[in-house]
């Protein structure tokens, strides 16, 4: 379980998160929507300890993420993360991309790591691309590679940071299908997204971020189709 408790985060004078609290249960899919600059991506970076926080706590499976005693590299193995920019490692083949972290972080044998990597690549539909270099692939394929690369670490949670917003429109579908597949398999996921249809259909709950706070949090269908907060209503009417 990921428990976010009254988190405050500032970049210099700019306060991006102004007291955010959210519990994500195992097996749950939570989508975070909101305008740009509302702090939604920052929250993911804080959960993964890429960014530190000024106040509050984030607890993952009973471990305080930002405590000094926490081994953050170890913790991140539990938290898979996929970014807006896919960040394939251009100097490695698709298979090497996916096998690297299991090999050097989890210290698997080469054969084991390759096996895990192959399994996850097939999982996301890249079974025919093992020896291809990522730069030869489309954005959608590279983004699926990024998902497989994260999955190869066998994370308990997956964080998705606007994974479709840098893609050409015709490539969005294949990546969303992959996310849908993961959700169906019971992966615990937090998705920052601009795809309202995806948020409504795939997630269990949706949080609407506005200026660093959660303005509305509720069951997915309700928040998207029948928002209660006027701010959410205004945002959704603009997005559609």
């Amino acid at each position: 379980m990921i428990s976010i408790q009254n988190v405050h985060k500032s970049f210099g004078d700019l306060e991006v998160l102004k007291g955010v609290s959210l519990d994500v249960n195992d097996g749950e899919v939570v989508s975070i929507i909101g305008g740009s600059g509302s702090g939604k991506s920052t929250l993911l970076y804080c959960i993964n300890a890429i960014e530190n926080i000024q106040k509050g706590k984030i607890i993952v499976d009973g471990v305080d993420v930002h405590s000094k005693e926490t081994n953050k590299d170890k913790l991140r193995q539990k938290l898979g993360m996929v970014f807006q920019q896919w960040n394939s490692f251009p100097h490695m083949t698709v298979l090497e991309n996916a096998a690297l972290a299991p090999r050097i972080v989890k210290k698997m044998s080469k054969a084991e790591a390759i096996e895990v990597a192959k399994k996850e690549l097939v999982h996301v539909g890249l079974g025919d691309k093992f020896d291809v270099y990522p730069t030869k692939m489309s954005g959608g394929q590279q983004q699926r590679l990024a998902i497989a690369r994260a999955l190869a670490m066998k994370p308990d949670y997956m964080l998705f940071d606007e994974v479709t917003s840098a893609l050409d429109p015709e490539l969005v579908g294949e990546v969303l299908d992959t996310l849908r597949l993961l959700a169906d398999e019971g992966m615990t996921m937090i998705c920052v997204t601009h795809e309202m249809g995806f948020a409504r259909d795939v997630s269990d709950r949706v949080a609407y971020f506005h200026e660093g706070v959660i303005a509305e949090l509720g069951e997915a269908k309700q928040v998207i189709t029948d928002p209660q907060n006027p701010l959410t209503q205004k945002f959704l009417s603009k997005v559609r």
Partner: protein
């Protein structure tokens, strides 16, 4: 044409010329290796926020890049000599080449490092890699690809510039050629052979460099 070519004396002195060529290669390799080490430090200093280090590095780079090599060599040999520090021609040329190589390579390294998006770092961190692993497996291999060709060019440049050793009586290929031709007065013959030898050396360096790069870098950037 009145000039008569006499090649015999050149062939008799071939061992000396080859020895000179070896010294040329020797000084260039050493200048490159030392230059790389210093350039790494200067590049780190230049990207550092601390003002004094950054200032020293910038001054070094600007002087090295904006003054001719011959000036550096004269400074190391005659300039320091006038101050009572007497360097041998070899050391003088070597230190001048190291100074210049370090200046140019600093910019190469800095550019290579900054051309790698910082998101590569955060993506690697998110997979649980330690910082050392990120550099070892992700950042440095990519950087090496980008700086490989500029570095090869810098090495070729070092070989060509070491020919200025002729001006301080160094025993590398040009200096040896100069000495031998002044004994025999076969200026054209000796320098033509020297030119051919320089050509062969640089070609060999370029060919082996591209063979090595094909072996090292399989992925595309």
């Amino acid at each position: 044409m009145d000039y008569e070519f006499h090649w015999n004396v050149v062939f008799q002195n071939m061992p000396e010329l080859l020895n000179g060529a070896f010294v040329t290669l020797h000084v260039s390799v050493l200048a490159m290796l030392l230059g790389i080490v210093i350039a790494i430090l200067l590049a780190i200093a230049k990207m550092n926020n601390s003002k004094p280090y950054c200032y020293i590095a910038t001054t070094w780079v600007e002087i090295a890049r904006n003054t001719p090599a011959i000036f550096q060599i004269y400074m190391a040999y005659f300039g320091l000599g006038a101050l009572g520090i007497h360097l041998s021609p070899y050391v003088a040329v070597l230190s001048a080449l190291v100074f210049i190589n370090a200046g140019y390579l600093t910019e190469t390294f800095r550019g290579g490092f900054q051309s790698i998006p910082s998101t590569q770092y955060s993506a690697s961190k998110s997979l649980g890699m330690t910082s050392i692993q990120v550099y070892r497996y992700i950042i440095l291999p990519q950087m090496l690809r980008r700086i490989y060709h500029p570095m090869t060019n810098q090495f070729v440049w070092s070989i060509l510039m070491s020919s200025l050793g002729i001006l301080v009586g160094m025993g590398e290929l040009s200096g040896t050629t100069q000495r031998l031709q002044s004994l025999s007065f076969r200026t054209l013959e000796f320098f033509m052979v020297a030119a051919v030898m320089y050509f062969i050396i640089t070609k060999l360096v370029l060919i082996s460099s591209s063979l090595l790069s094909r072996k090292l870098f399989k992925g595309e950037i």
